[in-house]
Point group: C2
């Protein structure tokens, strides 16, 4: 099995491989902004792929804001710092120190979480006592219960992360804010695609769970928890996460140094 020359299983589609390769080439400065990429035909020859495949990859990067396609002129590199989205972050980790990236990311998440709390409270107040029976609240309870089950069973951090995202999704759903929802989704994906951060986030899953349970009680009208305290606890957990990430990075240092000999 290990001597298989072409392990057709669990292999990324060629388009995906090509996309990642080109994306990295753009992000690491191989192709700086305002320069032209080799033509589709040239690249397809260099990479040993069909032009259609290369083209599909290029299209992805265009959609992601990394490239601009000009008929008759070629593909031109745009400045990802000005046009890139959060989806670049997991890739960027390979070229920059992940610690500040993660710290800033968590800060953004916290800021948005504050908005969510605010909106949830407003919705809860408006709905009054009927709110407790609302389906959306029930789904939230359900998601938290599921997370609790996984914590008890000692699930992997990846599984915990998915369950956690489910909780957040339900929470955002309660706010009823479409914009907030669409803003959180890419953020959630980043955590999912950023393994080191994900693992650091769930180093102590029980603490996350405690916070969610307190949050749920608050939404239900309990007075033994208030949003300020919740956010403060979240900030503390985030700091611990960054510390954990720093440690894991230091542990791996020496071999993980990004290749930037220039």
């Amino acid at each position: 099995m290990s001597d298989m020359p072409t392990p057709s299983k669990d292999r990324l589609p060629l388009v995906e491989q090509c996309t990642q390769r080109l994306r990295r080439a753009v992000l690491d400065g191989t192709y700086p902004p305002e320069t032209r990429l080799p033509s589709e035909r040239t690249l397809s020859e260099q990479l040993g792929l069909n032009r259609v495949t290369v083209r599909s990859a290029m299209t992805h990067l265009v959609a992601g804001g990394l490239l601009e396609a000009r008929v008759g002129s070629g593909y031109w590199v745009k400045d990802f710092r000005r046009f890139g989205g959060l989806d670049l972050l997991p890739v960027l980790v390979e070229f920059e120190d992940p610690v500040p990236l993660a710290r800033d990311l968590l800060a953004i998440r916290r800021q948005l979480a504050a908005m969510v709390l605010e909106q949830v409270r407003a919705v809860a107040d408006e709905a009054g006592s009927e709110f407790e029976k609302a389906d959306r609240l029930y789904y939230l309870e359900d998601a938290i219960a599921h997370l609790a089950t996984l914590v008890d069973e000692g699930a992997t951090r990846a599984e915990l992360a998915d369950a956690d995202l489910e909780v957040i999704a339900r929470l955002v759903e309660i706010t009823g804010s479409r914009a907030l929802q669409l803003c959180f989704n890419p953020l959630a994906r980043v955590v999912h695609d950023f393994p080191a951060l994900r693992d650091a986030l769930y180093a102590e899953p029980s603490k996350n769970l405690v916070a969610y349970k307190a949050l749920l009680r608050w939404i239900q009208g309990a007075t033994d928890a208030d949003p300020a305290a919740l956010l403060k606890a979240m900030a503390a957990r985030d700091r611990a996460t960054v510390t954990a990430l720093e440690r894991s990075q230091k542990r791996m240092s020496g071999r993980t140094s990004p290749k930037r000999p220039s």
Copy 2:
């Protein structure tokens, strides 16, 4: 009328047309979540396009989180509320009331702006007096000056919006936070692709300019402006923007039914 059978000019690429069409079909519920789309071959026949073209469009939607491709099974619709990004917002405006969308979007922007202010202040304090001469600050001044020129010249709102985004970009750049930068970019694009909101935002461009100038003075160390006041003013302007948007929507009501020539 026109004898030209193919008005080759100013026509969107077929892939783009196909992408938009399919995206709308997903967003408006024609293809609900957890259902299967017609196969590539079927769609290419229905739409009169080549399979490669349809396929490219599908790939876009997969990348955007709207679809999932399963070999041998077909394309399956994912719930855009759970997997979509902010880039959907301008399209979503066609199916939902734009006012709450815009209001929530502005609130998010404001929240992130608060973070920017915080970070900028931190950077400025750290750099001390040398900061005033820093290139990044110079670029910010430059962008604001450019915006002022456009305001004086009575430029179109689209031009003003672009100049405004330039200012914001410079501001975010000063913070040095990659994550914040990548988080703001899609947000900026939304404003750019959301004409009604864009126009409402720059109904009174001079007011925006005043705010930016006060912001610049604050960064430079002046004491006649503080971040709390700046954010308060921003909130007031956002409220005015929403009001303007409401008015423009009311004015257009009765004719605003989305054009669906099927």
